[in-house]
């Protein structure tokens, strides 16, 4: 099995630890991982802010980089960017067709859509594992991010993986399915509402007594972490890939 790691521009630039964790985890599970160096950004920020026409070249670029037959799957540690490819690329194709621009874009994007998996989805559905041999002796609460939850329908996959981690105690997060308030440019354009949502998310996590708040998307975690340090809370946001990569021999630093 050979997969292309679509790390996302946010992870590449700000959260390289998550990328290293995905490589370590997948390699441990016998998967050959490649990181196509020409990858940049899926175009979600452009698309969701209303710049669909500027997102199109980025989507084409994504397809050029990841469309190779050499890859059995494209794996990303981001529910949100995964949803961009799986849910919104087909929609971009449809819109281009509706605007009389032919089948071009739809045809270009088609090969990457069914091959793209969010990390936990890939582990459970494609590799068929729930116990990835991880060790992480912490009390953890899980925040299902909106796009992972509703666009990709990740469901129980992430929590099944977490429950199988040795030493990990999973505690339920009150109001888990409520948005943390990030929402890309929403966090800046409506910063008061966004901050109020983030504060409630952090307070809810705090109320569980967990020392780690885990999610499958660093964009949401960036907003939660930024709020958490400002509120001086003890809850530490950690990406699920880093927990699943952690072992007794090589614990998460």
């Amino acid at each position: 099995m050979r997969v292309a790691l679509f790390l996302t521009c946010v992870n590449d630039t700000l959260y390289p630890d998550t990328g290293r964790a995905v490589v370590k985890l997948l390699t441990r599970l016998g998967v050959e991982v490649d990181f196509p160096m020409a990858q940049t950004c899926c175009g979600q920020a452009h698309y969701n802010t209303g710049y669909r026409h500027q997102a199109e070249p980025l989507a084409r670029h994504f397809s050029d980089v990841f469309g190779s037959d050499a890859y059995d799957a494209i794996v990303t540690p981001s529910g949100s960017c995964g949803a961009m490819v799986r849910e919104l690329y087909p929609r971009m194709g449809e819109r281009a067709r509706a605007e009389g621009r032919g089948e071009g874009l739809a045809r270009t994007l088609a090969p990457v859509v069914p091959k793209t998996y969010e990390l936990t989805e890939f582990l459970v559905d494609v590799l068929g594992v729930t116990d990835v041999g991880a060790y992480y002796p912490h009390k953890v609460t899980y925040h299902p991010t909106c796009h992972g939850l509703r666009s990709l329908g990740l469901g129980e996959r992430p929590t099944r993986l977490l429950r199988a981690v040795e030493g990990l105690e999973l505690v339920e997060l009150p109001g888990a399915e409520e948005c943390c308030g990030f929402g890309g440019t929403f966090a800046v354009k409506n910063s008061d509402v966004s901050a109020a949502m983030g504060t409630d998310k952090v307070r809810n996590a705090e109320s569980t007594g967990a020392d780690v708040l885990c999610a499958a998307d660093n964009s949401c975690l960036m907003h939660i972490a930024g709020t958490a340090t400002r509120l001086r809370t003890a809850v530490r946001p950690v990406h699920i890939a880093e927990i699943l990569a952690s072992t007794e021999e090589e614990p998460l630093s």
Binding site: L7, G50, G183, N190, S191
Partner: protein, 502 residues
């Protein structure tokens, strides 16, 4: 919504700023929305065929909207056959003129109203007042809003932003000016408040000769109008007056009685979390005054007011499926914190954020800001009983705001210019697009960020200030992932593809 009370609103972020800081308001909203949200989930879970009902509702509405001209003509024929009169109103002003003239023709100077979104949308009460006609709201929550000189903030519960204590104060202070005063020593117990409203309203019902209503549905095949409600005030307004004037948006049409089967299941469960609403009133034309209760004169005012323009938009038209259940408001984390008033319209929450900028256009500051009043979390789409993909329409309207494009205004195709104030963002998006199109440029940017990381400010300038005012920025790592990858795995990586650009 000319004539409405929401003109000249500031953009959503400013309006929301105040609400976020108002702890009483936030507590009221949080309590109310969470209670109804949980109850709705339980009521919906009772039905095994919810997904099928939702799909059926979507299809009926889409079919009707696709053939709306046909069904509206059928509806008109049916209403006329049943003894009613049909009026067509292209916009708010025309609708207000029609209704005012109809009331004046009766010689009456007061009317009772069943809660109606359409008449609020067009600002009917204010238009009537200007002609010396007093309109009395009879829905409990609408009464609270009217007595409090306030604005509705929720589709189903217009006074959701008020708690019991506030309602008691409004009743005690204001009721006497409008009719029967509140009882002496009124407390904030729900039973006492309801009784005070009941006594106050009964006087109005028994006196009024003219009733004004909206409708939840209009059945084209029979000309029957349907109102679903919880309090019985609607039933009183529909049966006691001699003249009934119903003002209804054209999108409320459904083809047949049979179609009601779907909506009478999905609407109450989605809105009040009840299996069936307590009152379902249906009326068809006029009644024979000699043998039955009900109005002897019936007028139906069919309101367009931007709906045909909305229907012309392939993506945005799905907003017209809305059956006004308010489930999207109750589940929305943004509505919960910003409150209904921030949306500057009688339609607040996620549905308001897509409906108002379509009905009114995106020229005003508030309308241009509404498509951004969402984190696109998708909870609204998930609960919508007619499957309106609200996030999809929001993004579509954002595109219209920042890039302009084709739209239909008053039946004419126009090319909209981008809204003002987005030039810097547009430039930034273009720059980011260019950088992302060239992996080498992205990598160079990452390296600069890494090397200068010790000098990064804690507070950002410009629009970024909004982020760093309440949140800390992440620290830029010493080495971006791609550099680590190339350093450690470069020999057997996909580095070959970079050669084109770097």
């Amino acid at each position: 919504m000319s004539g409405g009370t929401f003109v000249g609103m500031p953009a959503f972020p400013e309006a929301a700023h105040e609400a976020v800081g108002n702890t009483t308001l936030r507590a009221n909203l949080r309590h109310a929305t969470h209670t109804i949200r949980d109850k709705r989930a339980r009521a919906v879970a009772e039905l095994d065929d919810w997904a099928e009902l939702r799909e059926a509702g979507r299809r009926i509405k889409d079919h009707t909207l696709r053939h709306l001209d046909h069904y509206l003509m059928r509806l008109e024929e049916s209403v006329v056959r049943a003894g009613g009169t049909v009026h067509w109103a292209a916009d708010a002003d025309e609708a207000n003129r029609i209704v005012t003239a109809l009331v004046k023709a009766t010689g009456e100077s007061e009317v009772v109203k069943v809660k109606s979104m359409a008449t609020q949308e067009i600002g009917l009460n204010e238009a009537l007042e200007a002609e010396g006609i007093h309109a009395y709201e009879t829905d409990l929550a609408e009464l609270i809003v009217q007595l409090g000189h306030d604005r509705p903030s929720h589709i189903l519960v217009p006074a959701i932003h008020r708690n019991r204590g506030e309602i008691r104060d409004i009743f005690a202070k204001e009721m006497a000016d409008w009719g029967r005063p509140a009882p002496e020593g009124l407390t904030d117990s729900p039973a006492e408040l309801a009784e005070a409203a009941r006594l106050h309203l009964r006087e109005k019902f028994l006196r009024a000769k003219v009733g004004i209503s909206g409708a939840n549905f209009m059945v084209a095949e029979t000309g029957t109008l349907v109102v679903v409600e919880s309090e019985g005030n609607g039933r009183m307004c529909l049966t006691l007056p001699e003249t009934l004037i119903s003002v209804v948006g054209i999108e409320k049409t459904i083809p047949t009685w049979r179609d009601l089967e779907v909506f009478l299941q999905t609407l109450p469960r989605s809105s009040t979390a009840e299996r069936m609403n307590p009152y379902t009133s249906m009326w068809t034309g006029t009644t024979d005054a000699a043998t039955a209760d009900g109005p002897s004169t019936f007028h139906l005012v069919l309101l367009d007011n931007g709906r045909t323009d909305t229907l012309a938009d392939e993506v945005g038209r799905q907003a017209l499926r809305c059956i006004r259940c308010s489930a999207c408001l109750n589940v929305c984390p943004v509505y919960e914190r910003a409150g209904g008033h921030a949306y500057g319209s009688v339609y607040p929450g996620p549905i308001g954020a897509i409906l108002s900028p379509q009905l009114r256009g995106t020229r005003s500051e508030i309308d241009a800001s509404l498509p951004y009043a969402s984190s696109l979390c998708g909870a609204c789409y998930e609960v919508c009983p007619v499957a309106i993909d609200i996030p999809e329409v929001l993004v579509h309207l954002r595109e219209r705001v920042v890039q302009g494009g084709e739209a239909t205004r008053q039946g004419v195709k126009v090319t909209l210019k981008p809204a003002k104030g987005h030039a810097a963002e547009r430039a930034a998006m273009r720059a980011a697009g260019l950088a992302f199109a060239r992996p080498g440029a992205l990598r160079a940017g990452q390296r600069i960020a890494s090397r200068t990381r010790r000098f990064h400010p804690r507070m950002l300038p410009g629009p970024g200030r909004a982020w760093s005012a309440t949140r800390d920025l992440p620290k830029v790592p010493a080495e971006p992932f791609r550099d680590w990858w190339q350093r450690t795995r470069g020999d057997r990586s996909g580095g070959t593809t970079e050669g084109n650009d770097a």
